[in-house]
Amino acid sequence: GRERLKAAFDKVQAHFKELFTTLFDGGWAELQLIEAADPLEAGLEILARPPGKKPQVMTLLSGGEQALTALSLIFAIFLTNPAPICVLDEVDAPLDDANVERFCNLLDHMSRKTETRFITITHNPITMARMNRLFGVTMVERGVSQLVSVNLEEAERFLETA
């Protein structure tokens, strides 16, 4: 139990550091077990230093920087034990265009490195353009959902109407 958690922690740490530096195009971050010597009792702390900035407690980071750091942790855990399915519901919401591109590069990379099928819910046109296929959900009849296959052009028209 204890050894398994410590072993998992070390693997996640390695992936986390690499993913952070990839998503931030630089900088440094680290996971820490705090508050107890026993990993089964400890808390998980995150130290992050975006490129060009001093290392700071997570709260001082910007909304987008925090989201990117949390995504690094989630994907680090994922890569440690890849699941056959990964669903991401609007995780790109707080990201600026440059960060959305890096996020999509990472999805590309992971989809080629694993057998995992990815489902990404998004309002972001950049993310839409990077998907292999798109489905639109509509409510032509109020309160009733319909699923329909769409291409990028149709998807962008989707966004423009209620």
């Binding site: 998992a8 989630i74 890849p82 099928r117 489905f135």
Partner: protein, 168 residues
Amino acid sequence: MKFTKLQISGFKTFVDATEFLIEPGLTGIVGPNGCGKSNLVEAMRWVMGENSFKAMRASGMDDVIFSGSGERRALDIAEVALVLDNSDNSAPAGFQDSPIIEVTRQIERAEGSTYRINGREVRAKDVQLLFADASTGAKSPALVRQGQIGELISAKPQARRRILEEAA
């Protein structure tokens, strides 16, 4: 074991039978606010054995059954089926001779849920174990709910460690 298809009927806003093909690589889901995108992926978590109605944004599990809209009346049954491709035989023992595994969950108002694997009735626990053995399941860290990123950021260190335990 690969996820290939999700069939939804009567679950939240998916009133009529809907089939969602899950293909390799990256699939995007788009649409206006409130049209049902999160409901769609919640159906997947639900059929994998999610037993907390709070994780379904509900105040009781019956809330996932279509409760009616302007023109349609409420239903009393919701059903979701998840079809898995087991042609690589990676599913747990007991499924060696099943190249296709179909997991179904049906809920009837005030009656609770019934689970089936390839038509045979099983317990919720059997479904949860099947997915846990495949490194997935309703609690998989790879299923990121809307707003969950924010929760992870503001989570206490103890709560964050539990996410690590899911991976171990």
